[in-house]
């Protein structure tokens, strides 16, 4: 496999993802370097379109951080996000793009360690999958 630093877009909701990222920092854990943190008020704000656009414009992978079921501050945002993700996965299957590139990970406000482990694992997975075959200009 070509050695490259996979570009990951991490959607972090203000209630779980973002505080966990802060906690990861305060625990001095390493967040992989090509991770772009996108702050949203709730995972429910993340439109299906954004997930696809991320891949279209060159990201190798996307992680959607959302709250656990029955723990969303806005009650249903995490479920909405999951539904949109399933829809995107079906589209990706149809066009032959690896589903594993986009993933949803559930965490809480205090899950600093889980966030970092997920991003590190994703980086490794994407290194194995290879760079995004369908980013613009390729």
């Amino acid at each position: 496999m070509v050695d490259f630093d996979p570009k990951i877009i991490a959607f972090c909701c203000d209630q779980s993802g973002y505080p966990s990222a802060d906690m990861a920092g305060s625990l001095r854990l390493n967040i992989p370097k090509n991770v772009e943190m996108v702050r949203v008020p709730c995972a429910g704000r993340v439109e299906a379109l954004y997930l696809l656009k991320a891949l279209e414009k060159g990201a190798d992978g996307v992680v959607l951080f959302a709250c656990y079921e029955e723990n969303c501050q806005y009650l249903r945002g995490n479920l909405r996000a999951r539904g949109r993700l399933s829809y995107i996965h079906r589209l990706m299957e149809k066009i032959g793009l690896e589903k594993e590139r986009i993933e949803i990970c559930y965490l809480a406000t205090n899950s600093g360690v889980k966030l970092v482990e997920t991003l590190q694992r994703k980086t490794e997975e994407l290194k194995r999958l290879g760079p995004n075959p369908c980013s613009e200009g390729k």
Binding site: Q15, P19, E69, N71, L107, A108, N110, S111, V113
Partner: protein
């Protein structure tokens, strides 16, 4: 001399909740905490979700801590303790000590939110806490998961696959005089177990208990999923002693087999003691100075005989985070009614 309406002693979830509620009435509040940061015991808890939220409320505490920093009329002083309180007419004269500094304060109302300490498991010598490295309390385990994110045997850093949980350590125990149920430990331990087994399916747990206490409206379905989990063995008996085998470096416990009734010695790599709650050590002097009373179980009597003194949270009796928040909101209401009634 600081001018405040309410002094809240204790920056745990109870104190924070009372402060947040009172700030909505624009009542100036001073919250003091003896530790370097606020949040109390509950802020050291890890998220205990398995495939979905298990309602442990640990994340709720983290959110409240952020909220409290946003409020204009709440002043938080950490590393601060009380060196003296005296009642002077309708007000309390309080001397605070922050390091070497001394701060004087006069307030009409005081809220005791001093919280609880986990029961000192070294008192149960037969379990070997403090002697055997691999016997830890549930709180030790919680912190290990929150701050390190991994499960290890303290003795050698290896990954343990055979765990045992002992419930009711320090509660419901006539021999030590704790004739109360600490109420939260069953749900707390089971949630920890489910979270651990979700992340590490190879871990097998033996759950030693007396009676499983419910917690909240989702508990029935949660308990059902625990009982259906093949990796958790429920054994309704509390072991009397933990043995240590120097040869295998394993801990041994005498376990009755539920089918045959025979008692066998089983090895465990990590034993977790679910310790109960006792009133915070530091509360004693405050109780004395304020002329408060103890309940028969050694907590602070909430129906305070002292005018202007209110009690919030687990220091008035065992509570989980959920009930603590509810009670604390009620305490804030009492304080508000008291302050308004004086005007």
């Amino acid at each position: 001399m600081l001018e405040k309406e309410v002094l809240i002693i204790g920056g745990g979830i109870a104190g924070i909740t009372v402060a947040l509620e009172l700030s909505q009435f624009e009542i100036p509040v001073l919250l003091i905490e003896k530790n370097p940061s606020i949040g109390g015991l509950a802020s050291t808890f890890c998220c205990k979700a398995s495939e979905s939220c298990n309602k442990c409320f640990a994340c709720v505490v983290d959110k409240r801590i952020v909220e409290i920093h946003q409020k204009r009329n709440i002043q938080c002083l950490t590393r601060t303790e009380i060196s003296g309180i005296r009642k002077n007419g309708k007000k309390f004269e309080v001397t605070l000590k922050q390091g070497r500094e001394r701060i004087d304060l006069q307030v009409p109302a005081i809220v005791m939110a001093v919280g609880i300490d986990p029961y000192d498991a070294t008192q149960k010598g037969e379990y070997g806490y403090g002697r055997y490295l691999d016997v830890i309390t549930a709180k030790d385990l919680d912190e290990m998961l929150r701050y390190q994110g991994k499960l290890v045997r303290p003795s050698n850093g290896e990954f343990p696959t055979r765990l045992a949980f002992f419930q009711c350590v320090g509660s419901r125990d006539e021999s030590i005089g704790n004739l109360y149920c600490s109420q939260v430990c069953c749900a707390y331990a089971l949630r920890l177990i489910r979270a651990i087994r979700y992340q590490y399916p190879k871990v097998k747990v033996c759950f030693f208990y007396m009676d499983i206490q419910p917690a909240g409206p989702s508990f029935e379905s949660f308990l059902k999923s625990c009982r259906e989990d093949q990796g958790i063995r429920f054994i309704r008996s509390l072991p009397s002693k933990i043995y240590y085998s120097g040869a295998s470096h394993l801990l041994k416990v005498r376990v009755p087999d539920p089918q045959t009734g025979e008692v066998m010695e089983e090895p465990f790599e990590l034993i977790v003691l679910s310790v109960g709650m006792v009133l915070s050590q530091g509360a004693r002097s405050l109780v004395q100075w304020l002329g408060l009373h103890y309940t028969e179980d050694g907590f602070i009597e909430a129906s305070s005989s002292q005018e202007g003194v209110f009690v919030a949270g687990a220091c008035s009796g065992p509570k989980d985070i959920d009930r603590t928040i509810i009670h604390a909101k009620g305490t804030a209401l009492e304080v508000y009614q008291f302050l308004k009634g004086r005007d």
